[in-house]
C-alpha cells in the first residue's frame, strides 16, 4: 500500500474537512466537490481521506472511457467459453467504496453526468454491445476542480451534495507549517506518519462514533423550517439542497457528539450544501421588514410540505396534521418544540445568509470562464471516448470494441491459430472528441475617415478582452487593417494576450479605404496557409462603413465589392459586420455588405466601446 499524506497533517481548510467528514458519517451524502486554485492541496486532501477511512479509494482518471466506467462484455470469457458476461466498470466496482476524480471540470461531460447520476440514484442500466445489465451500486463520489479551467454546468453543480472552496491561507505561520509538514512527509515519511498516528486514530474513532450516533440525531422542527426558508431565500432550485443541508447538519451534530441539531450546525451545513446552489447574487441580502419575513416563513412551510405530501388536495386538509405527528412519534422523534421557539428563526434566516455572504466564495470567484466548445473530431486526433459502427472509410479502428464485438462468435469461427478471428462486421471505429478553437480576425477600416480613433480603441479593447478569455477557450485573435492602397496584417492570429498587447501598442491610421482588398486578404488568410484548419471555427469581424473607394481592377468600387462578396460568402467563414457609419445622411452600405455576406450586423454606435467584445463573443460562440 502506498503511503498517503495523513488527513490530520493538513493545515487549515476546516470547511473542506468538515464536508469530507460529513460524507463519511452520513451514507446518504454521496458526493462532495472541492474547488481550489492550483497547488492548494485539493488532491492531497481528498486522498488523505484514505488514512481515516477503511473504504478503498478508487481513482477515475480523466481519460476514462465509457466501457471502463460503465462495464462491458467480458472479452476473455466470451472467447474461451462463448458466454456473454459482464466485466464490471468502475461505477459497479466502486460499490461501497469511494470514487475520486481530479479536475472533474476537464472530464468529458457525458462521463461526469453518468457518474453524478449514478451516485445520486444508486443504479444505472447498461445497454451496450449486446448486453443488458442492471447495476445497483452505492458509492461516495469526491471530485476536485480548479475554477480557472472552466466550470461545471449548474445542473452538474446541483448534483453535488456538498461543495466547498478551499481557503487561501495567508498567515505566515500556517504556510510555514504546510511547508514543514510536506517536506517531512517527503523525506522522513515514517516518522511523520508516526507523529500523526495519535490524531489519525482519534479522527477514526470520531467518525465511527458519529456513524453510530447518526440514527439517533434529530432536527428540531423549527430548524427544519429554517432550512426550507433558507433554500427559498437563496432561490435554490429543487429539493436536493434542502435534503443535503439537513443531512449535513445531522452529520455535524453527530460529529459533535450531540443528539440534536443546533443553529450552528445549520449555519455550517448551509455553507457546505447551499452555497453552490444559490441563485441569488451574494452580498446583497434585502433588508426586509419583519412582517414580510414572517410571511415568507409561512410560505416556506407551505412549500416545504407540498412535495412531501403527495395526496389529492381534498384529502390533504383534514388528516394531514395528525398523520404527520403520528409518523414522527413512530420514529421516536420528540414532538415539535413549542411555538414560541419559532420566533427564533425569523431573524435566523438572515443571520445564516449573512454568514454565507461573509464566507462566500461565489463573490471572489474568477468571473467568466465557461467551457470550451467541443466537437466530434473528423480525423484521428482528439480524445477517444466512444465507438460506433464504421460510418466512414477510415483507419481509426477501436481495437478493444472490435475484439469485444467479435468475442461471442469465436467458438464458431475458424481461427487459424489465433485466439480471435475478426470479420468485417465486427469492426468498430473510434469516436473522438476534441476541443476546438476559434480563430477570430478583426478586419478594420483604418482609413482617414471620421471616428477612426474611436474605432481603434473599441477594436483594441475587444481584442484584448477576447484574448483575456483565450487561455480558457484556446482561441486565436488577430487584427488586419486596410488603409491607403493595401491591407496589413497587424496581429497574426495569436493566443497570447501579452503578445497582442505588445503588437497593438500603436495602430497606424489615415489614407484611402481599400475595402475590397481587405476582404480578399482577410479571407485568404483564413482559407490558405497555417490559419486555414477546417475543423476550427473561423470568423471575420469587419468594422467598416461599407464605403470602399480603392478599386483593384479599375471597376467601380461598389460593383467590385459585389463580385468579391459573392466569392467569399461561402468559404465556411462566419462574418460579422459592425457598421461604423455615424451621423446623417446614412448610406447604409455596410448593411448591404452584411446582407451579401450573410453576416450578422451590428452598429458600433449602439454597441459602444464596451459592448463590442461581448457581442462578438455571443455571436461567435452561438451555434450557427
Amino acid at each position: 500500500m502506498n503511503f498517503l499524506f495523513p488527513f490530520s497533517g493538513i493545515v487549515g481548510q476546516e470547511n473542506a474537512k468538515k464536508a469530507l467528514l460529513c460524507s463519511l458519517v452520513h451514507e446518504d451524502i454521496r458526493s462532495v466537490l472541492i474547488i481550489g486554485d492550483p497547488g492548494s492541496a485539493k488532491s492531497t486532501l481528498v486522498r488523505s481521506v484514505g488514512t481515516i477511512e477503511d473504504k478503498p479509494i478508487q481513482t477515475i482518471p480523466q481519460a476514462v472511457t465509457f466501457d471502463r466506467l460503465m462495464g462491458m462484455i467480458d472479452l476473455e470469457k466470451a472467447v474461451t467459453s462463448g458466454s456473454i458476461q459482464v466485466t464490471p466498470g468502475l461505477l459497479e466496482e466502486g460499490d461501497g467504496q469511494i470514487l475520486y476524480a481530479d479536475n472533474v471540470n476537464l472530464m468529458e461531460e457525458g462521463i461526469v453526468n453518468n457518474i453524478l447520476n449514478t451516485s445520486d440514484t444508486g443504479h444505472f442500466i447498461l445497454e451496450r454491445e449486446g448486453l443488458s445489465h442492471h447495476v445497483t451500486t452505492r458509492f461516495t463520489f469526491f471530485a476536485t476542480m480548479d475554477p480557472a479551467e472552466g466550470e461545471l454546468s449548474p445542473g452538474q453543480m446541483d448534483r453535488f451534495d456538498l461543495c466547498v472552496r478551499l481557503d487561501r491561507i495567508d498567515e505566515t505561520e500556517l504556510r510555514a507549517e504546510i511547508v514543514r509538514n510536506q517536506l517531512k512527509f517527503e523525506t522522513k515519511t515514517k516518522s511523520f506518519l508516526l507523529e500523526q498516528q495519535h490524531e489519525t486514530d482519534s479522527l477514526k474513532e470520531k467518525v465511527t462514533a458519529a456513524q453510530d450516533r447518526l440514527p439517533y440525531v434529530s432536527i428540531p422542527e423549527a430548524l427544519q423550517d429554517l432550512v426550507s426558508s433558507l433554500c427559498l431565500e437563496l432561490a435554490v432550485e429543487g429539493q436536493r439542497g434542502d435534503l443535503a443541508a439537513t443531512r449535513a447538519a445531522c452529520a455535524l451534530a453527530a460529529l459533535d457528539k450531540r443528539d440534536e441539531v443546533n443553529f450552528q450546525d445549520i449555519k455550517e451545513a448551509a455553507l457546505l450544501a447551499l452555497e453552490h446552489r444559490r441563485r441569488e447574487k451574494p452580498g446583497c441580502p434585502p433588508p426586509e421588514p419583519p412582517e414580510e419575513n414572517k410571511e415568507k416563513e409561512d410560505n416556506a412551510q407551505e412549500n416545504r410540505q407540498d412535495p412531501d405530501t403527495r395526496q389529492p388536495p381534498e384529502e390533504r386538509d383534514e388528516p394531514h396534521p395528525e398523520e404527520e405527528e403520528q409518523k414522527e412519534q413512530d420514529r421516536g422523534i420528540p414532538p415539535p418544540p413549542p411555538v414560541s421557539e419559532r420566533v427564533f428563526d425569523i431573524g435566523a434566516t438572515f443571520e445564516v445568509i449573512r454568514y454565507l455572504d461573509e464566507q462566500s466564495w461565489q463573490a471572489t470567484r474568477k468571473q467568466k470562464s465557461g467551457r470550451r466548445t467541443r466537437v466530434q473530431s473528423t480525423d484521428t486526433s482528439g480524445h477517444y471516448h466512444a465507438f460506433r459502427l464504421p460510418v466512414k472509410n477510415q483507419n481509426d479502428i477501436a481495437i478493444d470494441a472490435t475484439l469485444r464485438a467479435a468475442a461471442p462468435y469465436q467458438r464458431h469461427r475458424k481461427r487459424n491459430g489465433l485466439a480471435i478471428s475478426v470479420t468485417k462486421g465486427d469492426i468498430r471505429e473510434k469516436v473522438r472528441e476534441k476541443k476546438v478553437a476559434h480563430t477570430i480576425l478583426f478586419l478594420v477600416d483604418a482609413s482617414g475617415s471620421m471616428g477612426v480613433q474611436k474605432r481603434m480603441i473599441a477594436v483594441k479593447g475587444a481584442i484584448l478582452s477576447l484574448l483575456h478569455d483565450a487561455y480558457l477557450k484556446r482561441d486565436r485573435v488577430g487584427l488586419m487593417i486596410f488603409r491607403g492602397k493595401d491591407a496589413h496584417l497587424l496581429l497574426p492570429p495569436t493566443k497570447s494576450p501579452d503578445h497582442a498587447a505588445k503588437m497593438l501598442k500603436t495602430i497606424p491610421t489615415g489614407g484611402m479605404t481599400p475595402l475590397g482588398k481587405g476582404l480578399i486578404e482577410s479571407c485568404n488568410l483564413l482559407t490558405r496557409g497555417r490559419f486555414a484548419s477546417t475543423d476550427e471555427n473561423r470568423s471575420i469581424v469587419i468594422l467598416t462603413d461599407g464605403r470602399g473607394n480603392v478599386p483593384i481592377n479599375g471597376k467601380s468600387p461598389s460593383e467590385e465589392l459585389k463580385e468579391i462578396t459573392e466569392k467569399i460568402a461561402f468559404t465556411g467563414i462566419r462574418y460579422v459586420v459592425v457598421d461604423t457609419e455615424a451621423g446623417f445622411p446614412r448610406l447604409g452600405r455596410a448593411q448591404v455588405l452584411a446582407g451579401n455576406l450573410n453576416a450578422l450586423y451590428f452598429r458600433l454606435e449602439e454597441l459602444g466601446t464596451q459592448g463590442l467584445a461581448g457581442s462578438v463573443q455571443n455571436t461567435i460562440y452561438s451555434p450557427r
Binding site: P61, V179, R180, I399, L464
Partner: protein, 347 residues
C-alpha cells in the same frame, strides 16, 4: 541511441547560466518538479535539454521492472514490485542511468497513457496492458518540446499523472495503474501562445532565455557549433574533463541532499516572499525551499545561504504571480533580494 548520435556537450554551451542551473537543480532534487524553458527560437533550448542527457546520474532500480521502480523509494513502487515485497521475495536491484524520454507533439492518447496490447489480445485472447510514454518516463525526465502546442487532452493526461505520481489507465477495456513520477521539462516559444495555467503551475522552475547580446559571445557560439559539426568526437573530448567535473558535482550534491534540513529562517523567508507576491497555492513555497536546498548542495555546502535563496527565487517565482490582464507579469526581483537580505540579517 545516445552513443550513436553524438550529443553536443553541456559544458560546451556558451552562457545561459540560468538554464544550466535550473536543470542541474532539478537533476539533483527531482521533486522540485521540473523546468520550463521559455525563449525565442534558436536559443539553445532543446540543445541544452539533450545535452543534459549525458550528465544524468545513475539510480538504483528494481531489476526487471518495466516501470523502473526506484529500489529505495518503497512508497512509490508499482503493484508487482509491492506484491513481491509483501510476499517477502528478494528484490534484486540494478543501476541504470536516468534518461530523457521525449513526448512528441503528435503523440496519441493511447501511446501516452498506455493501452491494450493488441497483439497479445489477438493471439492469446487475453487482455494485457501495454505501457506508454508515461510508464517510460517514471523516474526519468519527460521532455516536451513546444509544450504550449501540446493537444489539450494530452495535457490533461500529464496533469493527471503529475498530480499523483501515478498513471491511472481506465480505457479500452484496460484497468491498470503504475507509478509515473517524472521530471517534466518543457520548452516553448511564448509568441506561439500561452501555457494553460494549471500546467504552468506544475513546472517547478521557469527560465526565460534570450539570445546572447554580446557580439564576442555570439561568435563563440557559432565557432563552437561549427567545430562540433566538423568533428563531434574531438569536440566532445575537448570538454570531457569539464563534463566529468559537472557529473562529480551532481553526484556529490545528491549525496548531500538527504542530510540537508531546511532551517526556520529559510522556511519563513520563503513563505514571506510568496505572501508578499500574492501567489496562488503552496507550490511556490515548497519549490523555493527545495530549489534553495539544491543550490546549496550543488555548492557542496550543508547550509543554505541567502545567495542560494536569491537564485532560487529568480527561477521559481516569476510564473506563479497572480496575473493581471495585459500587464507583463514581472517580478520585482530587487525587492525580493532586499527582503531576503533583511530576514537573514535579523536571524
Amino acid at each position: 541511441m545516445t552513443s550513436e548520435i553524438p550529443v553536443y556537450p553541456f559544458a560546451g554551451i556558451v552562457g545561459q547560466e540560468n538554464m544550466k542551473e535550473a536543470l542541474l537543480a532539478n537533476i539533483v532534487y527531482p521533486s522540485i518538479g521540473g523546468v520550463l524553458i521559455r525563449g525565442e527560437k534558436g536559443t539553445a533550448k532543446s540543445t541544452m535539454v539533450r545535452a543534459a542527457t549525458d550528465l544524468l546520474p545513475e539510480r538504483e532500480v528494481v531489476k526487471g521492472c518495466i516501470f523502473r521502480c526506484d529500489a529505495s523509494d518503497l512508497r512509490n513502487q508499482c503493484s508487482s514490485c509491492q506484491s513481491k515485497r509483501i510476499k517477502g521475495e528478494k528484490i534484486p536491484s540494478e543501476f541504470v542511468r536516468m534518461r530523457v524520454v521525449e513526448l512528441p507533439l503528435c503523440a496519441t492518447e493511447d501511446r501516452v497513457a498506455g493501452t491494450l496490447d493488441i497483439e497479445h489480445a489477438i493471439t492469446k485472447g487475453i487482455k494485457k496492458f501495454e505501457p506508454g510514454v508515461l510508464a517510460m518516463a517514471n523516474g526519468n525526465i519527460l521532455y516536451v518540446d513546444e509544450v504550449n502546442l501540446l493537444d489539450d487532452h494530452i495535457v490533461d493526461l500529464l496533469l493527471d499523472a503529475a498530480a499523483m505520481g501515478v498513471n491511472f489507465v481506465e480505457r479500452e477495456g484496460i484497468s491498470y495503474s503504475h507509478p509515473s513520477r517524472f521530471l517534466l521539462v518543457g520548452t516553448m516559444n511564448p509568441e506561439e501562445g500561452d501555457l494553460r495555467p494549471q500546467l504552468l503551475d506544475r513546472f517547478g522552475l521557469v527560465v526565460d532565455v534570450e539570445g546572447e547580446k554580446d557580439p564576442s559571445l555570439r561568435s563563440e557560439v557559432v565557432r563552437r557549433r561549427l567545430d562540433f559539426e566538423t568533428d563531434p568526437k574531438a569536440f566532445c573530448d575537448r570538454f570531457a574533463s569539464e563534463q566529468q567535473a559537472i557529473r562529480d558535482k551532481i553526484r556529490q550534491a545528491k549525496e548531500i541532499i538527504p542530510s540537508l534540513a531546511p532551517d526556520e529562517t529559510l522556511i519563513n523567508t520563503a513563505v514571506t516572499i510568496s505572501l508578499s507576491l500574492g501567489v496562488d497555492g503552496h507550490r511556490s513555497d515548497l519549490t523555493l525551499v527545495k530549489t534553495a536546498l539544491a543550490f546549496a548542495a550543488l555548492d557542496g555546502q550543508k547550509e543554505v545561504r541567502k545567495e542560494h535563496l536569491k537564485k532560487a527565487a529568480g527561477l521559481s517565482l516569476p510564473h506563479r504571480m497572480r496575473r493581471r490582464p495585459f500587464e507583463e507579469s514581472k517580478v520585482d526581483i530587487r525587492a525580493i533580494h532586499s527582503l531576503i537580505e533583511e530576514t537573514y540579517e535579523v536571524s
